[in-house]
């Protein structure tokens, strides 16, 4: 193993740039004070605090729970739209049109509407997450269904496979990679969106605690929770989605 190889594996160039940024950060926090920009040390200390007190788990679990319901619901509905798109060409057109409308609707629209409909409750961030992630996951699945190799379906017709056999043997396996990509993008979006929605009306979750930290002028905690978000996102990407993708690619 060459030195260069190890340098790349350990992301040494990235770490180098990060060191420069941290140095700049320290200088700026001296210049402007802890309220505007807390020092890296204060952030590290804050992180250790919430890990020690277990607060990190309370809020992360609360956020993930809402994401699981909202995003999970979106995946289920997206799968149903995918099935409809497979069964009927007309349905595919209708779904396509509705998804493009949903796709161009702002997060804020759903936040405001969900507060009106569900009040200050868990259901507001859940509904917002659902509405924002549904078009992302569904359009991926529908695209996957539309891109199923027609020549393979024709092969299925030649050998008289039933509709169900064609669905399980041909449509599902060729759509799975699209589903995984849709879920990966959708989950990232879910985390970002639900955190924004948590600013309003709930008393737990990463979004809530970030906004609360700002109100009590504990700026370092805002940074700490941002760090928690990044960690959650990276962990699910690496541990869940990358692993699933690798498994799907086994036959390539």
């Amino acid at each position: 193993m060459s030195a260069r190889h190890w340098a790349t594996r350990l992301h040494l160039p990235t770490l180098g740039v990060a060191a420069v940024i941290v140095a700049g950060w320290v200088l700026l926090s001296w210049r402007y004070g802890a309220y505007v920009l807390p020092s890296p040390l204060a952030v590290a200390r804050g992180f250790a605090e919430i890990v020690a007190s277990g607060e990190i788990w309370r809020h992360t679990v609360a956020s993930l729970g809402r994401i699981l319901v909202g995003f999970g619901g979106a995946v289920v509905v997206a799968l149903l739209t995918g099935l409809a798109a497979f069964l009927s060409r007309t349905a595919r057109g209708v779904i396509h049109d509705f998804l493009s409308v949903l796709n161009s609707t702002s997060v804020f629209v759903w936040i405001v509407i969900s507060i009106i409909w569900f009040g200050l409750s868990n259901w507001a961030p859940i509904f917002t997450t659902f509405m924002i992630t549904l078009p992302v996951v569904a359009s991926n699945i529908v695209e996957g269904v539309a891109n199923v190799d027609r020549r393979l379906l024709e092969m299925g017709d030649v050998y008289r496979l039933s509709g169900r056999q064609k669905f399980t043997a041909i449509v599902v396996p060729s759509t799975l990679p699209y589903l995984v990509v849709g879920m990966k993008v959708g989950f990232g979006l879910a985390l970002k969106v639900s955190v924004v929605a948590e600013i309003f009306g709930v008393t737990s979750g990463i979004g809530y605690v970030m906004n609360y930290s700002r109100e009590i002028l504990a700026t370092q905690m805002v940074f700490v929770w941002a760090l928690v978000m990044i960690l959650v996102m990276t962990a699910t990407d690496r541990l869940v989605f990358d692993a699933v993708s690798r498994r799907l690619d086994r036959w390539r």
């Binding site: 024709e154 030649v158 050998y159 496979l161 396996p173």
Partner: protein, 251 residues
């Protein structure tokens, strides 16, 4: 098992007429090669016979039963396409087993039939490989094994060796000829390579330039001298190619 095939005044229009009118009969167990210039409608004719495409005119009878567009006759038809059309996420064995499912065979019977036909196609030992892990020639052989595994009454092959190099092509021609001798299936084989047709077919049908008609039908049973037959067919195909390119109008 093998059945007779009757193609009666079949024609097909796709905006322009592609097949004018083609009629021929195939006895059970014959190996028919369909020849003709590129783009003359050979593949279309094969697809009509296989029930993948409805004819504009005329009809196709398979063992006396009409083959319609939706094709729900009781005969079994195996098709080997120009591409292998294997499911990449399934092993070679699973690919063959899949097409045996609609025949109502049990899991054990499917596995045995799949392995037997893969062996027949020279793929013993590769049953558990995914298509991406074997060569193009082996994939095409797996597609042939799949078509044979359903024990088809009629086997349709559409330039199945087009993507292979000369060496593999020769090997595969001999293999198909051997499989045909051993199984006695009725085969309709589309190709534009005259030497290939003369090497493996018992009956050769030369189609004309578009819109296709039958230009010549030859029995290739060894009575004709091979070299002369190849020369004659080459002359014919050159004439048809020229006609198709618009040098001469349709005859």
């Amino acid at each position: 098992m093998a059945v007779t095939l009757e193609v009666a005044e079949v024609g097909k229009d796709f905006l322009i007429p592609v097949i004018d009118s083609v009629s021929f009969g195939v006895e059970a167990g014959e190996f028919v090669c369909l020849l003709g210039p590129n783009g003359c409608g050979k593949t279309t004719l094969l697809r009509i016979v296989g029930g993948l495409e409805p004819p504009t005119r005329g009809r196709v009878l398979l063992g006396g039963e009409p083959v319609s567009g939706s094709g729900r006759h009781t005969k079994k038809v195996g098709v080997v396409f120009q591409e292998d059309r294997l499911l990449p996420w399934m092993t070679l064995r699973e690919n063959v087993e899949l097409v045996l499912e609609p025949l109502g065979l049990g899991a054990e019977a499917r596995r045995q039939a799949a392995d037997r036909h893969l062996r027949l196609a020279g793929l013993a030992g590769f049953e558990a490989y995914h298509p991406a892990r074997v060569s193009g020639g082996m994939r095409q052989r797996a597609a042939i094994a799949r078509a044979l595994a359903i024990e088809p009454d009629l086997l349709l092959m559409d330039e199945p060796f087009g993507a292979l190099d000369a060496q593999n092509r020769r090997i595969m021609q001999q293999e198909v000829r051997r499989i045909w001798r051993e199984t006695g299936r009725t085969i309709l084989f589309v190709t534009h390579a005259i030497d290939e047709a003369v090497a493996i077919g018992t009956t050769l049908i030369m189609l004309s330039a578009r819109p296709a008609r039958i230009r010549e039908m030859v029995r290739n049973d060894g009575h004709l001298e091979r070299g002369k037959l190849i020369d004659d067919l080459n002359t014919m195909i050159m004439e048809e190619v020229e006609r198709q390119q618009g040098v001469v109008g349709p005859a």
